[in-house]
């Protein structure tokens, strides 16, 4: 109610304004009658030039706005909306148009972004905003965050926009872009989804054809980067066209995940021991690797593994063996033996071993395993000649 009352007051205030003289009225009548937009603009310029202090300053700016709109001149519309806010900071018309138009500015200054944020928040603060105004305000707020590189709040605003209007394909395109810009592994699939929706959605709220195709091209490029090829892209487009957000658990296999999967399948067939170790190591090196170690591995026996001896200490009667499983030159496991071995083995000797996980060092990676001689095979029975460190 307050908002409406304010508008009425503003309108009444305008009604109280007076014509400077009859010539001003003539000029305004000619503006009213002019159907040629460019001519109308010229007449408005005349009005502004001849009556710079006209009491109808805000109305004149509104007429400028609608004229520039007819000309499709968003840049000048934005400028006029800025003038309205400069002359009257709480101008609802200025706030609305500045908010709506700011994202079209290709080089918005930090000051404009700040003004846009203020205008957007002013719209959001309206007790009874018109239908769609919240969407416009949040759209611009999200865009402003995006321009500032504040991707998380941008994502949040765009998410709210899509809740308000799931058909807003433009917002999907923006959200997809922001999610991709975040460069976070967990944002890649949602980004692809949003871009797919923006490019595939064809009902009310869809992007114009040119822009839709443009987003489609970007989607295909990113999808290939992520997935390796276009397999599944059509299914993604179809699914995204039908829903603004992916279902819980929706995933697209990345090229890395596919490589890991194929590797795991192949290793499981050709070298199950190595396959098991790669799986364990991947889990240990994941973000929650420490938890996995504590919950699952610690003090528990490892499967039988095969690796290459890199180092043994102390010489002669080694009780600590450093072993590379994946790379014979890269230490991964330190076997701590409960009792020392009776002799040395050549560096590079391939060993099979079992043991109990004891401790984990994530960087550089190292898993300490408690074992004993009975659980190691491949160790030479007779003392082997030590030939120095493995290359």
């Amino acid at each position: 109610m307050k908002y409406l009352a304010l508008m009425l007051l503003l309108t009444m205030g305008a009604a109280a304004a007076n014509w400077t003289d009859r010539k001003e009225y003539d000029l305004v009548l000619s503006i009213r009658a002019e159907t040629l937009t460019q001519e109308r603009l010229g007449l408005l310029d005349q009005w502004k030039s001849k009556y710079p202090k006209s009491e109808f300053g805000q109305i004149r700016l509104e007429l400028y706005l609608s004229t520039y709109q007819a000309l499709g001149d968003s840049r000048h519309m934005l400028s006029v909306a800025g003038e309205m806010l400069a002359a009257q900071p709480d101008s609802p018309v200025g706030a609305y148009w500045f908010t709506l138009l700011l994202p079209e500015d290709k080089a918005a200054s930090p000051e404009q972004l700040a003004l846009g944020e203020k205008a957007s928040r002013q719209l959001l603060a309206s007790p009874k905003p018109a239908a769609g105004v919240e969407l416009i305000a949040r759209r611009t707020l999200g865009w402003i965050h995006w321009q500032r590189g504040e991707y998380a709040p941008a994502e949040e605003e765009f998410g709210k926009c899509l809740q308000l209007d799931p058909a807003a394909a433009e917002i999907s395109a923006w959200l997809g872009t922001v999610l991709a810009l975040e460069q976070q592994p967990d944002k890649r699939v949602p980004a692809l989804w949003q871009l797919a929706r923006a490019s595939a959605y064809r009902d009310a709220g869809s992007l114009p054809d040119g822009l839709r195709r443009q987003v489609g091209t970007v989607l295909e490029r990113l999808y290939i980067s992520y997935h390796g090829d276009t397999s599944g892209l059509d299914q993604l487009r179809n699914a995204a066209a039908a829903a603004p957000f992916p279902a819980t658990g929706f995933d697209i296999e990345s090229v890395a995940a596919a490589a890991l999967r194929k590797q795991d399948e192949e290793l499981s067939r050709t070298n199950p021991q190595l396959a098991a170790w790669v799986r364990i190591r991947l889990r240990l090196e994941a973000a929650d690797g420490d938890k996995y170690f504590a919950d699952t591995l610690h003090n528990n026996p490892l499967p039988k593994l095969k690796g290459t001896l890199i180092k043994s200490d102390p010489p002669g009667k080694p009780a600590e063996l450093t072993i590379g499983v994946i790379d014979p030159a890269q230490a991964e496991i330190v076997l701590k033996l409960t009792s020392a071995l009776p002799n040395d083995a050549d560096i590079g000797t391939v060993l099979e071993f079992e043991g109990t996980a004891d401790s984990l060092l994530k960087s550089p990676f190292g898993l300490t395993v408690i074992s004993d001689a009975s659980k190691i095979s491949g160790w030479p029975a007779s003392p082997g000649a030590r030939k120095g460190d493995h290359k």
Binding site: G72, P185, A259, E266, L274, P328, A329
Partner: protein, 593 residues
């Protein structure tokens, strides 16, 4: 003998020039979707020494105006000599880029010589031979060649040059233009009539039938139809106007749609701004007092039910326009009483329709109804412009002779003009036009190309990815199907070691496509050669198709082409091509960097 052909046109309706200017102002809004420029070269030739024409320059000017409304940068050339045409065609071509739409329009004499079309410059003079005549004219084929060389996104060629003339008869040439041959790719061609035919005269007109219709349709911003559809309409209009004697002709190899006025969604024809454009066009018609056409446009708007202020405006406008149309009809029929009533009605619907008030005054005066005329003149004094007030005062002064009230009124001081809100009644100043904002969002989508262009989604390979193993299944299958492929003895036992090869110094033997193709032919006899790999014993793995041996080794390889890659710490440090021929033995020396 050369035959020169040309059409003329009937008078173009008066509104066209005016609406063209208005529509030109809308260009940025209406052409935001297509990338690339629209460039038009427009030539109109009247001033021929032989068989001068009357309307070709008008046609060129009409097209110039119309094409500007459709977002074209235009080059207009009137009464061009051969040298002018050569020069301007160069200028036109220089403006074209690969994303651009090129449009060539010619109105003037055209001629076909030996099935080739030529456009006649104004300085053409009769020559002795047909060959000389060709040189004196502009070859359409040459224009096509230049357009092919420029490879613009699309070309549109419009020739309004199909009129019979005495020169054609003199050289005993065929009538009309020839069917164009060897047009560039992505080209739309239209003639004002069919190949080999001549166009119907339009001696009373200012434009040719064809150009008049075409320019009219192009200038209608609301007519968001594809070029083929537009030309279908032109054909119908010309055919109707000439009672079937002339039908424009088109041919096209365009592979994409072209719109002079792009709908918002070209594929769906669902242009939400169409109603707005119709309303703007209605205002233009109203200003030109074309009431019937304005009413039709407003009705179109109402049928679309756009809602919001636009629908409100259309609803308000319709009875006003109807009253104006009917008032004019009654006035023209001499029914001044009915006309006066209708003008009153119109003035009530739009209190600032001062012309309606003055026409109403006229209608009353013709019936000697002084008090009613006086009331309208008072309204004019209050709401009219200074010029209208002067007219009203003049009328009041004359009326004073029969009406003392009129004398008093003219002596009275001028009333204050109404407040500005009344001037713009229907507009709510101080309140955002939410619907206009929504419409704006639909018409002006934000171009995000500058951000998306740089987007990347490369997924880093985890350190634990072992490429040799990841590729192993396919390689293993290939090897299994290929009799004689080398199988190193320790392969099975040492798959684990194979996995490490990417991390350490090693050599990879990779067959090229030629060799792979050779080996997947099941019926091809297997032919093999050998490659001896030498280097530090036992240190460097050699990997071939997922299998691995260490130096020194001799690989038995199917005949074909290979690339030998030396890899250190995951990076290829050396590449060498190698061709294995049957039963040959070659040596490859492995060197550490």
């Amino acid at each position: 003998m050369m035959r020169i052909v040309r059409s003329t046109g009937r008078r173009r309706s008066a509104w066209l020039n005016c609406s063209l200017l208005f529509l030109a102002a809308l260009i940025p809004a209406l052409h935001g979707q297509e990338t690339g420029k629209r460039v038009a070269l427009i030539i109109g030739n009247d001033a021929y020494t032989i068989s001068p024409l009357k309307n070709a320059v008008n046609d060129a000017r009409a097209m110039d105006q119309a094409l500007k409304t459709a977002g074209f940068q235009t080059i207009l050339l009137e009464n061009a000599r051969k040298a002018d045409m050569d020069r301007v065609i160069g200028e036109f071509l220089d403006k074209l880029g690969p994303d651009d739409t090129a449009l060539f329009f010619f109105a003037g004499h055209g001629v076909q010589i030996e099935s080739e079309n030529f456009l006649v410059p104004v300085d053409f003079a009769p020559v002795a031979t047909i060959s000389a005549a060709k040189f004196a004219c502009m070859s359409v084929a040459q224009i096509f060649d230049e357009l092919k060389r420029k490879r613009a996104k699309r070309n549109i060629v419009i020739l309004d040059a199909c009129r019979s003339n005495p020169v054609t008869a003199k050289y005993s040439l065929e009538a009309g233009l020839a069917k164009p041959q060897d047009a560039p790719k992505e080209t739309f061609i239209t003639f004002s009539t069919g190949p080999g035919q001549t166009a119907t005269d339009n001696p009373d007109g200012r434009n040719s039938w064809f150009t008049e219709a075409l320019a009219d349709y192009i200038s209608q911003s609301a007519l968001t139809v594809e070029i083929n559809e537009m030309l279908t309409r032109v054909k119908k209009r010309v055919s109707d106007a000439t009672e079937g004697r002339q039908t424009p002709w088109t041919t096209s190899n365009l592979t994409s749609r072209f719109y002079f006025h792009q709908p918002l969604n070209a594929d769906s024809d669902d242009d939400s701004t169409l109603t707005e454009k119709w309303m703007e066009d209605a205002r233009v018609r109203e200003r030109r007092e074309e009431w019937g056409q304005a009413i039709d446009l407003v009705n179109q708007v109402l049928q679309k039910k756009p809602g919001g202020p636009l629908e409100e405006l259309a609803k308000r406008k319709l009875p006003y326009l109807t009253a104006r149309r009917d008032a004019q009809a009654r006035f023209d029929a001499g029914d001044y009483a009915a006309a006066a009533n209708l003008y009153e009605q119109a003035l009530q619907l739009d209190p600032f329709a001062i012309d309606a008030a003055l026409l109403g005054v006229n209608s009353y005066l013709l019936q000697d109804h002084w008090p009613e005329a006086l009331a309208l003149l008072k309204a004019v004094r209050q709401r009219g412009t200074s010029a209208a007030v002067q007219t009203a005062d003049l009328m009041l002064t004359q009326l004073a002779a029969v009406s003392p009230e009129a004398g008093k009124e003219v002596q009275a001081s001028l009333p204050q003009p109404p407040p500005i809100e009344e001037v713009f009644s229907g507009r709510h100043f101080g309140v955002p036009d939410w619907d206009a904002g929504k419409r704006h969002l639909q018409t002006a989508p934000v171009d995000i190309a500058r951000w998306t262009k740089e987007l990347k989604m490369e997924v880093p390979m985890p350190a634990l990815i072992l490429p040799a193993l990841a590729a192993a299944p396919a390689a293993a299958e290939t090897a299994a199907q290929t009799p004689g492929t080398v199988t190193p003895p320790d392969q099975a036992a040492d798959a684990q070691t194979t996995a490490v090869t990417n991390a350490v110094f090693h050599v990879e033997v990779i067959s090229t496509a030629d060799s792979r193709n050779l080996r997947i032919r099941p019926d091809a006899p297997a032919e093999f050669g050998y490659v001896q790999f030498d280097g530090p014993a036992g240190e460097t793995p050699v990997v071939f198709e997922g299998t691995q041996v260490v130096l020194p080794t001799k690989l038995k390889l199917p005949a074909g082409k290979y690339e030998i890659r030396t890899v250190d710490a995951g990076k290829v440090v050396n590449r060498q091509d190698l061709e294995v021929t049957p039963l040959s033995t070659q040596t490859f020396k492995v060197k550490r960097p």
